[in-house]
């Protein structure tokens, strides 16, 4: 296979991993909000920070693999 194809497979794997991670974060945050609606603001803030960190990791990997 050409090197470009490996890059594309790697990019696909990164996106799958990031997707699973984001799904976990979003799902757990929803669960937390449903259990404790009064903590919505705090949960959302923490959720966005973790999602941003995950996204930074995913973009860093895509950026280095480009």
């Amino acid at each position: 296979m050409e090197p470009v194809t490996y890059n594309l497979i790697g990019a696909g794997l990164i996106v799958i991993g990031a997707g699973i991670g984001l799904g976990q974060i979003g799902g757990k945050a929803m669960e937390g909000i449903a259990r404790q609606p009064e903590a919505t603001g705090k949960i959302q803030t923490a959720m966005i920070i973790i999602a941003a960190l995950l996204e930074g990791l995913a973009f860093g990997a895509l950026f280095l693999g480009k």
């Binding site: 803030t45 966005i48 920070i49 941003a52 973009f59 860093g60």
Partner: protein
């Protein structure tokens, strides 16, 4: 006050679009530079996300086979071996592969892939080696007012006018009018939801100015990127790197004793592990934090631009299989909705950059209540609520 401000905005807009009328260029060129294949579309998109020396709205080839470009030129300012040289980018006639040579100040210049090269003495045209690198031309120091520089200056002026008028209103009465009604809730949001909870009640005032500036700078530039002017300022890695370095400098120099203690000699862990932790913490503080800040903003905005441009390009690439009307309709619907998402992303990325900056500053200036601090063995005794912040 409001009227004069909007008049200023209208004046700027009129100047910007008025200049466009004078900038229509006639140029004879063969049809092969027309966008007619996937390769050309990809080149066009990659060219769009780069910085350029002129504003370019669109080009077309008319019936007389003339290539016409719509846009307006920007000044080119170069520091060359003969001193400062300045001319308008229109002298390159939208050429980007080095075939148009501009002679100024006794030197010859050519533009290749949005970079300006100075030809060596005696050379009359640029020659390339097999990897398409120029062999007889070298890059010059380029201080041009490029598209990104223009965008940064524009946003700087807009913020200066907008916020100084908002600040003046508070001298007379407490309720803002006009633009201030839009800006005031955002300013209060940044102060009360970002700065205050992350930095802490005692010290947030000192850093709110920086956080507000960086928030509005990124937000307005992200929104400008969605206009047909085609700014991609926050998608330039140099711009996001500069912003990340500002944050790095601020939290490094405002870090207190506890912050450096936790980086260099982490209390509460076995002594053998402390040097290992110090290496990890140093890499985190000086490399990983700023790198994640700059790459996140750069990659999000660039990716957004590529997606919007690709969906717009559907009307060219799918024309054969779907017909002109079908491909245009599909492209319009998709790019409309992705643009709505991009408006959300524009805000979200500004929010995240500001939020993480506030968080990093907050970690550097956090005061430890020493009533629970260290017992005799150097172990930190603290309840879960206090250590929670250290893990975020």
């Amino acid at each position: 006050m409001r009227n004069t401000f909007f008049k200023k905005i209208l004046l700027v807009a009129a100047l910007v679009f008025g200049a466009n009328l004078f900038a229509q260029e006639k140029e004879h060129q063969s049809n092969d530079s027309q966008i007619n294949g996937d390769k050309e579309v990809a080149d066009y998109i990659l060219h769009h996300i780069k910085d350029s020396h002129d504003f370019h709205f669109f080009s077309y080839t008319n019936d007389a086979n003339e290539r016409k470009h719509f846009g307006f030129p920007l000044p080119v300012i170069l520091w060359t071996s003969n001193g400062v040289t300045a001319f308008m980018s229109s002298e390159f006639h939208h050429n980007d592969d080095g075939h148009v040579i501009v002679e100024k100040n006794g030197l010859k210049f050519a533009k290749i892939h949005s970079k300006i090269y100075e030809l060596e003495a005696g050379a009359t045209e640029v020659s390339f080696d097999e990897t398409h690198h120029a062999t007889n031309a070298s890059k010059v120091l380029d201080f041009s007012i490029t598209k990104s520089v223009f965008g940064i200056l524009l946003v700087g002026l807009l913020m200066l006018f907008g916020f100084s008028s908002l600040a003046r209103q508070y001298k007379n009465n407490t309720i803002p009018k006009g633009l201030g009604r839009v800006l005031e809730p955002l300013v209060i949001y940044v102060r009360d939801e970002i700065a205050r909870p992350n930095i802490g009640e005692k010290k947030y005032r000192k850093f709110t100015g920086y956080l507000l500036t960086v928030f509005f700078f990124i937000w307005i530039l992200n929104l400008l990127g969605l206009t047909p002017l085609g700014f991609n300022v926050t998608g330039q890695i140099a711009v996001t790197a500069a912003l990340a370095i500002f944050t790095l400098v601020i939290y490094t120099f405002s870090g207190n004793k506890d912050y450096w203690m936790h980086i260099l000699w982490m209390p509460g862990v076995p002594y053998l592990i402390r040097p290992v932790l110090a290496i990890i913490e140093l890499a985190g503080a000086f490399l990983i934090k700023p790198f994640s800040l700059l790459v996140r903003l750069f990659a999000n905005i660039s990716a957004g631009h590529i997606v919007v441009m690709s969906l717009i390009a559907i009307m060219v690439t799918m024309k054969e299989s779907m017909g002109a009307v079908g491909s245009t309709a599909l492209s319009f619907i998709l790019s409309f909705f992705i643009t709505l998402i991009e408006i959300l992303v524009a805000f979200l990325q500004a929010y995240i950059f500001t939020m993480l900056s506030a968080l990093f500053i907050g970690m550097a200036v956090a005061e430890h209540d020493h009533d629970h601090a260290h017992d005799e063995q150097g172990h930190e005794v603290s309840d879960a609520e206090d250590v929670r912040g250290d893990f975020i």
